[in-house]
């Protein structure tokens, strides 16, 4: 059938209007946090002139980098209908193990094995991340264990492993190659920001335009249907889990450079923030819905809150309270902005 003719003979009057409408709504969903961001900026501007300085905003952006990578990872995993709590430990344990394999076994307070040359630290770190993801994937997909608890167990286990390997110390003398990305600046903007922006852009477009990206949505939406449509569900999900841990490990590299050492509780307790950011950003916990852009707005919201509160000089005692309150308010605003129930 010649398409052209068909397309003309298409929908009737009442229907014609609605595609845009639906479309608008779908788009809108990802923008639902934008109002919140605007409100925050207004407040920020009101409380301190320092807020709108590039210095401050770049600072906020940089502080957001590590978290945003975890959020990126978690979004991919959630969209394909899974969860990974262990990301918050991977960000810590991967660098520690990498450095442990690289550092000389004498001299410094923290003694490594010195098995590999210094430049190998980054590849090793990423490798460790990939392995962690692969093991999680094995337990979840092959042994069919409950993903939530597997990764919860992994969270504890990996944190414990980090403490054991690093003997609870924060590791200060780290190979320069390892810390470069986290501390370098390109064109006056921290390298980490460039990298995260790039990663979000690339992954985001992959999700939007590539078939393997679309596959995640199909799997998250209804894995049985995806399977019947010829998508290799388990393989894709496994890949996503590995990719997620890989990103977490990379976040660990940025973190180490950013904060100058691998601290023993690097990433400890972040997973809550990760989920908060992802979900107020419009990614569904049931899989199949959400975009990376939305998730990104989620991270920025959380980070801006901290920044504004600090600038406003909120009394420390009320800090945490406000933090929680703002999450809920943001949730309410975004829910009514997008007009969708969040099931």
């Amino acid at each position: 059938m010649p398409p052209t003719t068909e397309i003309r003979t298409l929908p009737a009057a009442p229907v014609a209007a609605s595609p845009e409408h639906r479309f608008a709504l779908a788009r809108y969903r990802d923008l639902s946090l934008v109002p919140v961001l605007l409100v925050l900026c207004v407040i920020g501007f009101a409380v301190s002139p320092a807020f709108l300085t590039s210095d401050n905003l770049l600072g906020v952006a940089q502080q957001a980098t590590e978290l945003s990578l975890l959020v990126l990872a978690q979004s991919l995993i959630l969209i394909s209908g899974r969860m990974d709590l262990s990301l918050e430990s991977t960000i810590g344990v991967a660098p520690v193990i990498a450095v442990w394999l690289v550092l000389p076994d004498h001299g410094a307070r923290f003694n490594g094995l010195g098995l590999f040359p210094g430049w190998a630290a980054i590849p090793l770190c990423l490798l460790v991340g990939a392995v962690i993801g692969a093991v999680n994937g094995f337990l979840i997909l092959k042994l069919r264990l409950n993903g939530f608890i597997v990764t919860l167990g992994a969270l504890t286990l990996l944190r414990g492993l980090q403490v054991a390997v690093s003997e609870g110390q924060s590791i200060v003398d780290v190979p320069g190659s390892f810390t470069y990305l986290g501390r370098a600046s390109w064109l006056g903007v921290p390298a980490a920001i460039w990298i995260c922006a790039l990663l979000f852009f690339v992954t985001g477009s992959a999700l939007a335009w590539l078939r393997h990206g679309r596959a995640l949505y199909a799997i998250g939406g209804n894995s049985e249907a995806a399977r019947a449509a010829g998508i290799r569900v388990d393989r894709v999900v496994w890949t996503v889990l590995i990719l997620g841990s890989l990103l977490a490990a990379f976040a660990g590299i940025l973190y180490t450079g950013h904060y100058g050492s691998i601290s023993a509780d690097q990433g400890n307790g972040w997973i809550f923030q990760v989920f908060a950011a992802t979900v107020i950003g419009g990614v569904s916990l049931n899989g199949g819905r959400g975009t990376l852009f939305g998730a990104l707005t989620g991270v920025l919201t959380l980070q801006l809150v901290v920044n504004v509160m600090t600038l406003a000089g909120v009394p420390p005692l009320w800090n945490q309270f406000l933090n929680g309150a703002i999450i809920i308010v943001a949730l309410i605003i975004s829910r009514f902005a997008s007009g969708e129930r969040q099931e």
């Binding site: 904060y259 920044n307 420390p316």
Partner: protein, 322 residues
């Protein structure tokens, strides 16, 4: 197996030792000293436990000590309230308790071994105040609001500043003992107050590296004396801090004596098990024992370390792990 040799080991009374946490430089150094001293003094210790900064685990562990025949218990309850009823139980069972680093709010203790955290705050305040000539802005990286030690340091620091250096504006930043939070808030503060003159970090183990990394990135890490230098006072006295002092990256730290903590914790535990008693007053190791409503406290000296005395061999930070 272990439980039984508590009584069998050459009549030596068994000591139950709990470590508060394994994930911080300071407490790991403490753990090392405990291990070393226990060995060197040939003490009979039950397997050392770790309560992962969770009082419920601490209580569980102490319970095990009771059941495995501990004659004295060394603990460092980070939650000074929730240990109360456990202390009562131990008292009822006539098991003396040595509390390291923290002073339980309630319940009898045989001896509290700690340096005075209020003194930390005051020392830091005085040092900063003098360096800054009594004016300027100081950022204070506080710990978790639920931590007694953190609170003592904050209160003392605030009180001292208010009284002695009213000209100095203190910006309090609650960090929940998290390095990244501290860095984020400090960065915001620097944006708001480019003229920041001083920083007081309540825990070098957590805050030192993030702060230095931040200042370096912002090009604010000027050597002491140079214009625009930000005066930094830290706390803990871990090796990294001493190194930083030598390199002139920070100005001072309060050395919280991990070695003495371990040494005298064991000392008093042993004494307690052997039934010896102590009275308030100066001790043989440049410290004073003071009386508490619920026991005694040996306030160990916590020297302020500056470029001047940073190489002092007496500082635990210079000897640990060597």
């Amino acid at each position: 197996n272990r439980g039984s040799d508590a009584d069998s080991a050459g009549g030596k009374p068994a000591l139950g030792i709990d470590l508060p946490r394994a994930d911080s430089d300071f407490w790991n150094s403490y753990a090392q000293y405990i291990e070393r001293d226990a060995a060197s003094q040939g003490l009979n210790t039950l397997p050392v436990s770790n309560s992962q900064n969770d009082v419920t685990k601490l209580v569980a562990n102490v319970q095990v000590f009771q059941n495995t025949g501990a004659k004295a218990v060394v603990m460092a309850p980070q939650d000074t309230g929730a240990i109360a009823s456990t202390l009562e139980t131990l008292a009822a069972k006539k098991i003396p308790v040595v509390s390291v680093d923290t002073r339980p709010d309630k319940g009898d203790v045989y001896m509290v071994v700690r340096a005075d955290n209020k003194a930390y705050g005051t020392k830091a305040c005085e040092f900063l105040g003098e360096r800054l000539g009594g004016k300027g802005k100081v950022a204070e990286l506080q710990g978790a609001l639920s931590s007694v030690n953190g609170r003592d340091r904050s209160e003392a620091f605030a009180a001292c500043m208010k009284e002695k250096f009213p000209g100095i504006q203190v910006i309090e930043l609650a960090t929940d003992w998290k390095g990244d939070v501290a860095s984020a808030k400090l960065q915001s503060t620097l944006a708001a107050h480019p003229d920041l003159a001083g920083i007081y970090m309540q825990a070098g183990g957590v805050f030192l590296q993030p702060t230095l990394a931040l200042l370096q990135q912002k090009g604010l890490l000027k050597p002491a004396g140079a214009p625009g230098h930000i005066t930094i006072v830290s706390n803990d006295g871990i090796p990294a801090e001493l190194k930083a002092i030598r390199e002139g990256r920070i100005d001072a730290t309060v050395s919280q004596p991990a070695d003495l903590y371990a040494k005298y914790a064991l000392h008093y535990a042993r004494a307690a098990a052997e039934g010896r008693t102590f009275t308030p007053g100066p001790t043989d190791h440049q410290s004073t024992i003071i009386a508490l409503p619920n026991g005694l406290e040996d306030q160990l000296p916590a020297p302020l370390v500056t470029k001047g005395n940073v190489d002092d061999k007496a500082l635990w930070g210079n000897t640990v792990g060597k």
